[in-house]
C-alpha cells in the first residue's frame, strides 16, 4: 500500500474525528445530564454555518472567521436556550415526547432557513490563509498533503476540548454539573439549582455545535439540511462513547473517524459508512455500556 496515502488518510481520519466530536459533544452533554435526545441538535450546526456566512458578508476580513466563531457560538447557544426553556424543560419526564418535539423543531428550523436563505446552499469563503496546504515533497513522507483548513479544524477541536475539560474539572459550574450528573435528586436536595444547570449545559452544547457549523462551512456548502448529514454520525459517537462521558465521546469519535478514513483506502464512501454502522453494532454487542462505563449511580433513577 502507498505509504503517503496511508498517512494522508490517518490525518484525514483525525480531522473527520474532530468534526464528529464537535457535533457530538453537545449531544453527549445534554444526554448525560437530562437524558434528553435533542433531534434539533443538527440544526445548531446549520445555524452556526449561516451565522458564519452572515458574519463574513458583513465583515470580510482574513480574521473575521474568528468573529464568526464567536457569533456562531453565541447565536446557537441562544437558540439552544430558547429550545431548552420553552420545550425541553417542560417535557423532562417524557423522553419520547422530547424526541418528537425536538424533531419538530428541527423541521421548523430547516424550513425557516429555506425561507430566509433559499433552498440553494450559501457559500462561506475560507480566508486565504486557510486555503493553502502543506505539501511534503521529499523524504519518506513524500506525497503527504495537509490542507491548512483541516489542520485548523484539529486545533479548534483541541482548544474546545481543553476548555470544556477545564470547565468541567476545575470550575464551580463543572462541579455542580458533575454533581447533577451523578445524582440529580441528591444534588437538588443539597440546594444545587439543577434546572439552571440543565439550561447552562444545554446552551453550552448548542454553542459548541454552532462552532462546529462554522468549521463545516469551511469544507462544504451551508444548506438548510447540512445538519442532517452530521447528526447520525454524532449519535453513533455518543452511543458508542458511553453515556455523557466526554472522555468516552472523544475516544469513540477518534475510533469512528479513523475507521471511516482508513477503510476509504479500500472501499467507497458509501461502503465506509456501512462499515462504521456494522462496527458500532458489533462493538455494542461486546461492550453494551460503551467505551466508558458510567461509574456512578447515574442510571439508578
Amino acid at each position: 500500500m502507498d505509504f503517503a496515502l496511508f498517512v494522508n488518510q490517518l490525518f484525514n481520519g483525525l480531522s473527520v474525528a474532530s468534526l464528529y466530536l464537535l457535533a457530538a459533544l453537545g449531544l453527549s452533554l445534554s444526554f448525560g445530564l437530562m437524558r434528553v435526545i435533542n433531534m434539533a441538535h443538527g440544526e445548531m450546526l446549520m445555524l452556526g454555518g449561516y451565522l458564519a456566512f452572515l458574519t463574513l458578508q458583513i465583515v470580510p476580513s482574513p480574521i473575521s472567521i474568528f468573529a464568526a466563531m464567536v457569533f456562531a457560538f453565541l447565536g446557537a447557544a441562544f437558540v439552544g436556550a430558547l429550545i431548552q426553556s420553552t420545550l425541553v424543560r417542560r417535557l423532562t419526564d417524557r423522553p419520547l415526547d422530547t424526541l418528537l418535539a425536538t424533531w419538530g423543531v428541527s423541521l421548523i428550523l430547516q424550513q425557516l432557513a429555506r425561507d430566509v436563505f433559499g433552498p440553494i446552499g450559501v457559500e462561506v469563503r475560507a480566508p486565504d490563509w486557510l486555503n493553502q496546504s502543506i505539501q511534503i515533497t521529499s523524504g519518506f513522507l513524500s506525497g503527504v498533503t495537509i490542507p491548512s483548513a483541516r489542520l485548523f479544524i484539529l486545533l479548534v477541536t483541541a482548544a474546545v476540548l481543553a476548555a470544556l475539560a477545564l470547565v468541567i474539572a476545575k470550575t464551580r459550574l463543572g462541579l455542580l454539573t458533575r454533581a447533577t450528573n451523578q445524582d440529580r435528586m441528591m444534588a437538588a436536595a443539597s440546594g444545587i439549582p439543577v434546572k439552571r444547570i440543565d439550561l447552562i449545559v444545554f446552551c453550552l452544547g448548542s454553542g459548541i455545535a454552532g462552532l462546529a457549523g462554522v468549521i463545516l462551512a469551511l469544507l462544504g456548502p451551508v444548506t438548510p439540511s447540512v445538519g442532517q448529514s452530521y447528526i447520525v454520525p454524532a449519535f453513533l459517537v455518543v452511543v458508542m462513547g458511553g453515556l455523557g462521558s466526554i472522555f468516552g465521546t472523544t475516544v469513540s469519535a477518534l475510533i469512528l473517524g479513523l475507521i471511516s478514513a482508513l477503510s476509504q483506502i479500500f472501499v467507497d464512501v458509501s461502503a465506509a459508512q456501512m462499515l462504521i454502522l456494522v462496527f458500532v453494532i458489533l462493538f455494542l454487542q461486546v461492550r453494551p455500556q460503551g467505551v466508558v462505563a458510567p461509574q456512578s449511580r447515574t442510571l439508578d433513577f
Binding site: N131, G143, T145, S148, G220, S229, D268, V269
Partner: protein, 403 residues
C-alpha cells in the same frame, strides 16, 4: 345562545365558501377550444433548484405558443404539478394529470429515478412524456421522448476531446446512483478501448460532503484529468476541498457532466472557474435564436437569470410537441409520437435538431470552459450532429431499441 349558534354557522359557511373558491381557482378550465397538457417538475425539495427553472422554460414556451394562436387553433392549458423531488410523487402526480386532468401529454422529470417511476404510468395509460435531461441511456420506451443527451452525446464526446488533448490517465468520481455508475461503466470501457488508463474511481453518497478520502486517492493516483458525475450540493464540497489541497485546474483539470451555468453561479463562479463541462447547449452559444430565447426568458424571469441545457431542452420539447401535433392533425399521443420522429429538423435555441426514430434527439455536443462570470467559453464541439445511441455498443453489445 341562539345568536352564538348563528355566528358559528355563518363563520363555517363563509369558510366553506372560501375553500371552494380557492379550489376552483387552482384548476384551469379546459373548454372546447383548449387542450390540456401537464408540466411536472420538482418545485420543492432538493431538486427544486434545478427543476423550477425548467418549469419556467416550459411555461414560457406554452405562453409564447398561446400568444401566437395556440396549437391546431386550440389554446394550451397547462396543469402544473409538483414532483417534490420524490420519485413516488412523480408517479402519483403523473397518474393524476393523465387520469383526473385529462392531459394529452406531459413535460417533465429530471432525475433518472423520477423518470423510471413515471415510466409505468405512461406505458399503462398510453400517454407521452417529454423528458428534458441528459441521462445514462439503457432505456427505450415508446411513451417517452428523450430530448436530453444520451451517453454518446455528452460523455463520450467529452472523452474524445480529452483523448485529443492528450490526457492519458483518468479518475472517475460520481454520486452513488444509477446515472454516475452507468456513465462511468461506459467511460471505463471506452478509456480502455482507446488505450488510455482509468487510474481510479470513487463514489460518494448523493448529498455527501466529506471528500477527504476521495481526494487522498486522487492525489496518490495523480490522474491527468478528473471526470466528475457528482450531482447537487456535493459538487460544492468537492471543489472546495479540492482547491484546499492546493490543486490547480491547470495541472489537473476537472470535466463535469452536471454543472451548468446555474449550478456554477450557485457554487460561486470563482470556485469552479477554469474547469470544463460538456453539454449540448451553453448560454454563450452565439445564434440569433438563442439570443431571442435568452432575451424572452430574462424579460420574464429576471435580467440575470442563468440559462442551462435542460431548460432549453424543456423549452424545445414544447415546440416539438406543437409541431408534431400539427403534423399529425390531432392530439392523440400515438399519432403525435409517430409524427414527432418523422418531423425532420426543428429550429431551436440550440440550433436545428430532430428526433431520431428511437425518440431521442439528434444533437451536437459542446465542451465549455468556465470563466470568472459563471459562463462557459465554448472551446470545442463534436463537429456535427450526433445520432443518439441509447445502448452503448461497446458496453452493452447486442442490445438496441426495438423499432
Amino acid at each position: 345562545m341562539m345568536r352564538r349558534f348563528f355566528i358559528l354557522l355563518l363563520a363555517t359557511t363563509s369558510a366553506l365558501v372560501a375553500c371552494s373558491e380557492e379550489a376552483t381557482q387552482g384548476t384551469p378550465e379546459v373548454g372546447e377550444d383548449s387542450v390540456a397538457v401537464g408540466v411536472l417538475q420538482s418545485l420543492t425539495g432538493t431538486m427544486a433548484i434545478s427543476e423550477i427553472t425548467v418549469k419556467n422554460a416550459e411555461m414560457l414556451a406554452i405562453e409564447e405558443i398561446n400568444a401566437s394562436g395556440g396549437v391546431l387553433a386550440k389554446e394550451i392549458v397547462a396543469f402544473v404539478e409538483d414532483g417534490a423531488s420524490e420519485p413516488s410523487i412523480f408517479a402519483q402526480k403523473a397518474s393524476k394529470l393523465i387520469g383526473d386532468s385529462g392531459v394529452v401529454t406531459v413535460f417533465g422529470g429530471w432525475t433518472s429515478a423520477s423518470r423510471k417511476a413515471m415510466l409505468p404510468v405512461f406505458e399503462r395509460t398510453g400517454n407521452l412524456l417529454w423528458y428534458p435531461v441528459q441521462f445514462e441511456g439503457n432505456e427505450c420506451s415508446s411513451n417517452i421522448m428523450y430530448s436530453g443527451a444520451q451517453p454518446n452525446q455528452q460523455i463520450l464526446p467529452a472523452l474524445n476531446w480529452a483523448a485529443q488533448e492528450d490526457y492519458k490517465t483518468y479518475f472517475l468520481i460520481g454520486s452513488d446512483y444509477v446515472f454516475p455508475r452507468t456513465a462511468n461503466l461506459i467511460l471505463k470501457k471506452h478509456i480502455e478501448d482507446k488505450g488510455l488508463e482509468t487510474v481510479g474511481e470513487a463514489y460518494v453518497p448523493l448529498g455527501g460532503t466529506d471528500f477527504s478520502g476521495v481526494l487522498s486517492k486522487i492525489q496518490s493516483a495523480g490522474p491527468d484529468i478528473i471526470f466528475n458525475t457528482l450531482n447537487g450540493d456535493s459538487n460544492v464540497a468537492f471543489f472546495k476541498q479540492l482547491k484546499a489541497t492546493g490543486a490547480s485546474f491547470d495541472d489537473m483539470p476537472v470535466m463535469s457532466f452536471s454543472i451548468g451555468e446555474q449550478e456554477a453561479r450557485a457554487m460561486g463562479a470563482d470556485l469552479v472557474a477554469g474547469s470544463y463541462a460538456a453539454w449540448n447547449y451553453f448560454q454563450s452559444l452565439d445564434t440569433p435564436q438563442n439570443a431571442a430565447f435568452i432575451a424572452a426568458y430574462q424579460k420574464k424571469f429576471g435580467e440575470d437569470a442563468a440559462i442551462t441545457d435542460p431548460m432549453v431542452h424543456g423549452y424545445l420539447n414544447v415546440y416539438a410537441w406543437k409541431a408534431a401535433a400539427e403534423a399529425a392533425g390531432n392530439f392523440d399521443p400515438e399519432a403525435v409520437r409517430a409524427a414527432a420522429v418523422a418531423l425532420g429538423s426543428i429550429d431551436t435555441p440550440m440550433g436545428k435538431v430532430s428526433f431520431a426514430s428511437n425518440q431521442s434527439l439528434v444533437q451536437t455536443a459542446y465542451i465549455g470552459k468556465l470563466n470568472g462570470e459563471g459562463q462557459f467559453d465554448i472551446i470545442a464541439d463534436s463537429g456535427g450532429d450526433i445520432t443518439p445511441q441509447p445502448y452503448d455498443a461497446l458496453t452493452f453489445p447486442g442490445r438496441s431499441c426495438a423499432p
